[in-house]
């Protein structure tokens, strides 16, 4: 089989002295789906940015279709038939799908954009690849899964033959992932070459032909996916055995901490997101919220954490009403929040790791004296957090935005878990985090539970919710359709029937979630 792409002995040193790639070699065959794996900060995104011309390698060679090339800009990469879907979306929310797709390669009629033709082209390409999206919709109106499709279409529209997908599934629901895989397999059959990055090993097993593993900027080898087990892959990545199975003692839930009663959330347009939801989170338990994304979970979490409103009902913490309170007030009552989207609500990207982890602790005497910040104490604390949460970075003073995606997430988790919380609202806590670090974060959540805290866990990873949660509520179309006291007795397929609204518990069973006697 012909080699579509070769990257040989790539070295990359960033201007701040970080050596992201020490010696990486990647060979990809034409028409295969090639997985690229490695821990957070191993240098995967960096390698792909080099291939796409966004970063220049310090040394090393690149061959595309056997020809040596020197890729100095994305424009050149696109010219060579390389397309990239970035780890974080590169879309303009206020513009339409069509405008986002044609940007830079606009079809023209005279000096003007030929809108009709553009729209038609966008429609056609969507149909051709089974990735149909309404060309006139604004990006801000799309779901995450649809945005992902637009990103892929954007690359195809520019004539990409080699597609780079940097963690495309991190933000997708299992259903959307399954759909994406169908589409990728279809592309592969039509002769496209795909480089696929993911921390979910089961996905790699399902989708990919071969896998290249990188550890700390060095290639650890290439394997046929069929020949290696998930355990092998994670050992090669991390350098030790990783326990994928989540081990924990049975929970001993106590009194109710957070009580959500008859909550209804409606927006100005009349759309009902949450419709009469009641449950209670008790101390010493991890309560999971399962459900296909878009069934009201986000709005419910926003309301609990003070980022959104409720239209009716009440939310209380230990009998103190917190509905409608400000984020600050809610935080001061020791509710921690690991938000779903780390880049927009999780961190201030241009501030340092230190500044980000103490952002919620400015009332601590340790950091402020007489209204003045104590730099030395702050830095020492930053260092403590970096060590405790194994955040891979040059020092605690670097901009958090320059870290790899998974390490930014660890920064968010560090800040929230260290804020002496009573209740932890963890929304997709291990999104984009590698297997080793996921294990670590899950352990931290279990430890918090064992210290009698309450953890509210929202995740689209079914394994995670089934393994980590003690009890579970399932949301469907804004309502709770099931309350499962003991998650251990639950299977993935049974959970699926609730999530898709095929099955529903009786009102009495659901009411138990409130633990009212």
């Amino acid at each position: 089989m012909a080699e579509a792409l070769q990257m040989k002995n790539i070295v990359k040193v960033y201007s701040n002295g970080v050596m992201a790639n020490k010696d990486v070699t990647l060979c990809v065959n034409e028409g295969e789906i090639h997985a690229l794996s490695g821990e957070n900060g191993a240098g995967k995104s960096t390698l792909m940015k080099i291939l796409f011309g966004e970063e220049q390698a310090t040394s090393g060679e690149i061959y595309v279709n056997g020809k040596k090339v020197n890729i100095t800009s994305p424009q050149m990469a696109i010219g060579l038939g390389i397309g990239m879907v970035h780890q974080h979306f590169m879309l303009v929310p206020s513009l339409s799908v069509t405008e986002n797709m044609i940007m830079g390669v606009e079809p023209k009629k005279g000096i003007f954009i030929d809108r009709k033709y553009a729209r038609q082209q966008v429609e056609e390409i969507g149909k051709k690849y089974n990735l149909y999206i309404d060309p006139d919709k604004k990006i801000s109106e799309l779901t995450v899964g649809q945005k992902q499709k637009v990103e892929i279409l954007k690359a195809l529209f520019r004539g990409a033959k080699i597609l780079i997908l940097d963690e495309p599934t991190a933000v997708l629901t299992p259903q959307e992932t399954a759909e994406l895989f169908e589409e990728l397999k279809h592309l592969k059959e039509s002769g496209y070459t795909i480089i696929f990055i993911s921390h979910k090993l089961n996905e790699i097993k399902e989708l990919c032909d071969r896998i290249t593993i990188i550890r700390r900027g060095v290639t650890m080898g290439v394997h046929n996916v069929a020949d290696v087990s998930e355990e092998d892959i994670s050992r090669l990545m991390v350098g030790r055995d990783v326990v994928q199975k989540i081990v924990k003692d049975p929970a001993h839930p106590g009194e109710s901490l957070l009580r959500v009663k008859d909550v209804k959330i409606v927006d100005e347009t009349g759309t009902v997101y949450v419709d009469g939801v009641s449950f209670s989170l008790r101390e010493g338990e991890i309560l999971g919220i399962a459900g296909v994304e878009g069934n009201g979970q986000s709005q419910l979490i926003d309301a609990i954490t003070g980022m959104g409103h409720i239209s009716a009902g009440s939310i209380s913490l230990r009998d103190k009403d917190i509905s409608g309170a400000s984020v600050r007030k809610i935080r001061s009552m020791h509710i921690a929040h690991i938000p779903e989207d780390r880049m927009t609500t999780g961190v201030a990207a241009s501030l340092s790791i230190t500044e980000n982890v103490i952002a919620d602790k400015l009332s601590w005497k340790r950091f402020v004296r007489g209204g003045v910040l104590r730099r030395k104490e702050m830095r020492a604390y930053g260092q403590e957090m970096v060590d405790a949460y194994q955040i891979l970075c040059k020092s605690q003073d670097v901009e958090i935005g320059s870290l790899s995606g998974g390490n930014i997430q660890k920064g968010v988790v560090a800040r929230e878990l260290s804020s002496e919380p009573l209740v932890i609202v963890a929304n997709q806590p291990t999104r984009g985090v590698d297997v080793g670090a996921s294990e670590f974060i899950r352990h931290q959540l279990i430890r918090a539970r064992d210290q009698r805290k309450g953890v509210l866990l929202i995740t689209s990873d079914l394994n995670e919710v089934l393994g980590l949660a003690d009890s579970l509520i399932v949301m469907y179309e804004g309502k709770i359709v099931a309350y499962i006291q003991d998650v251990a007795s639950m299977t993935e397929s049974e959970l699926g029937t609730y999530m898709l609204g095929i099955q529903k518990q009786s009102a009495a069973q659901i009411k138990e979630a409130l633990h009212e006697d």
Binding site: V92, L95, K154
Partner: protein
């Protein structure tokens, strides 16, 4: 009563359009920049410089053409300097803009003195102005003719520019690219667009429009250069641009609003109010207007919510 009569007169409306012209041109410039994600605070300075160099070049060159070249040319030079410092050397845009404004005040007086020996105005020079244009058929319509016809060439050009800017921003590839760069530069660079280049073009276009606004002041509204003659119009244009939500039509409407109060303050002087009070009006009116606007918006949102709760 006499004030009202004044406002309703054709002279007032004619003047209103005259006063709006420089603000509109600069506001359109600000619109192009802000769409591309650049805050150009230097409009005031660019207007001042182009108003002087327009006059000087027309006097030296001996005709209007050279005046035009000098005015637009000087605006371009300043814009390119701004763009170079901001985009290439990564200097802070607010600082660059402020530097232009501060430098412009001194530079114009200095050059004026070199050229004429005076520090106040250029009345000793024989400079040229843009002609007024009588529009054939419209001129003969009774009231409308007096209002719409007989304005300066640059006034008609400014109105034309509203259309041109609209077409540019929403119908051409360049406009689309500017809007993308303004909202998410990473999205543009990730498909191979050169963000610096696109912003450079935006700053240069803004310079041309703003320069025309400056030239109107000394070669249309008046027929000489007077020191500090821009008198805050550059900043008003920035405000008009953001009040108009950075759209061409919005810039037109808000420029008219500002100009209306500007004109009103002239009329109100008859009432023997302190002139400082009268000059304050356009700004107070804007703040009041914006406050009412946002209060209304939130009331409407609340009403909607209540309806839903009840229903």
């Amino acid at each position: 009563m006499s004030v009202l009569q004044n406002i309703l007169s054709t002279e007032f409306i004619y003047m209103w359009i005259r006063v709006a012209t420089p603000i509109l041109l600069a506001a359109l410039g600000a619109m192009v920049c802000s769409k591309a994600g650049v805050v150009n605070l230097g409009l005031e300075g660019i207007m001042l410089i182009s108003s002087l160099f327009g006059v000087l070049c027309s006097a030296v060159g001996g005709n209007l053409f050279w005046g035009f070249v000098g005015g637009v040319g000087s605006a371009l030079v300043v814009s390119v300097i701004f763009a170079y410092f901001h985009l290439v050397l990564n200097a802070n845009a607010t600082l660059c803009g402020t530097a232009i404004n501060t430098a412009a005040t001194g530079l114009t007086i200095f050059v004026l003195q070199l050229a004429t020996g005076e520090k106040g105005n250029s009345s000793s020079l024989h400079s040229f102005s843009f002609p007024n244009v009588e529009i054939p058929l419209i001129r003969d319509i009774p009231i409308l003719g007096d209002i719409l016809s007989g304005h300066n060439t640059l006034t008609y050009l400014a109105l034309l520019m509203v259309l041109v800017c609209y077409l540019l921003m929403y119908k051409t590839p360049l406009g689309l690219r500017m809007r993308v760069v303004g909202e998410n530069p990473h999205a543009a660079s990730s498909v191979g667009q050169n963000v610096v280049k696109i912003r450079f073009i935006a700053i240069v276009l803004c310079g041309v429009l703003t320069g025309l606004g400056g030239m109107y002041l000394s070669m249309g509204y008046m027929d000489m250069f007077v020191r500090d003659m821009v008198a805050g119009r550059g900043f008003i244009a920035l405000a008009a641009c953001s009040m108009g939500q950075a759209t061409p039509i919005g810039a037109l409407v808000s420029s008219l609003v500002f100009a209306f109060f500007d004109g009103l303050s002239n009329v109100l002087q008859v009432l023997q109010l302190p002139s400082q009070f009268v000059q304050m009006l356009p700004y107070v009116a804007t703040i009041v207007g914006l406050t009412i606007f946002s209060i209304q918006k939130s009331i409407r949102a609340k009403q909607k919510m209540n309806k839903i709760k009840a229903g």
